[in-house]
Symmetry: C2
Subunit: 122 residues, 2 copies
Amino acid sequence: MATLGDLERTVMDLLWATTESTTANELRDAIAEVPAPETGRELAVTTVLTVLSRLEKKGLVERERNIRPHRYRSVTSREDHTAELMHEVLVTAPDRDAVLARFIGSVSEAEAQTLRTLLGGS
Amino acid sequence: MATLGDLERTVMDLLWATTESTTANELRDAIAEVPAPETGRELAVTTVLTVLSRLEKKGLVERERNIRPHRYRSVTSREDHTAELMHEVLVTAPDRDAVLARFIGSVSEAEAQTLRTLLGGS
DNA sequence: CACACGGTTCTACTTGATGTAGAAGTCTCG
DNA sequence: CGAGACTTCTACATCAAGTAGAACCGTGTG
């Protein structure tokens, strides 16, 4: 499975936030703004580049190598990725029906309603 | 989140497989039988003990300390744990409805049917 | 055409999680 | 009380992830 670290997640969150592709430098700046200025520190671009390469290796990010400042974008939408993760978790269990029962019990009524609609009749 | 390593998962799988509590020695033997004899190697009991302690720290396992060969058991059922994980994943996304839509699209028809039943009418 | 400069890749170190287990400490029964 | 079973401490290896300097590359300008 693709488990992400803090910085990796931050980067993915930023990439997921736009449909546009981004450059490493733009990301470095964006990260500095994130609601966790902590040490108010700014990362080195190479750090961002390393993370992007790792995310690319994990298949979460793709880049345009033909143009110079390479441009990065997420391969899947955040929703797709999250749904995929959920499914991966589900299939680890032998008794999926039992898992689903408990899962349903944990979602809000609003979400349950959404599910009813999605599942349609029959 | 509680991400498990290979050995930790093996141990949890064994604990989840029985309602009974188990001892470290029993687990060591059981692990040796697992469908991945690999090197056919047998772990040291201390190794199992270490893993159990870590799982206890993670809140996945509890033990009876009063009796001598401490007896270990899983705190939650495998189904509860899996459903919990799924929920944790779900709530990381801002747009949960969108995630649910994609998730529903990824489950089998049989599972969809199970969900319909679980969600009942209305 | 050479080079300066922005950008990318390589290499490397640090930390934390996990696998693995010996050494040492602690019960318990006989 | 002592031996043996059991547990805890300590320790090391490996791997993922954060972090970044050093080295390498490509392109536009003089």
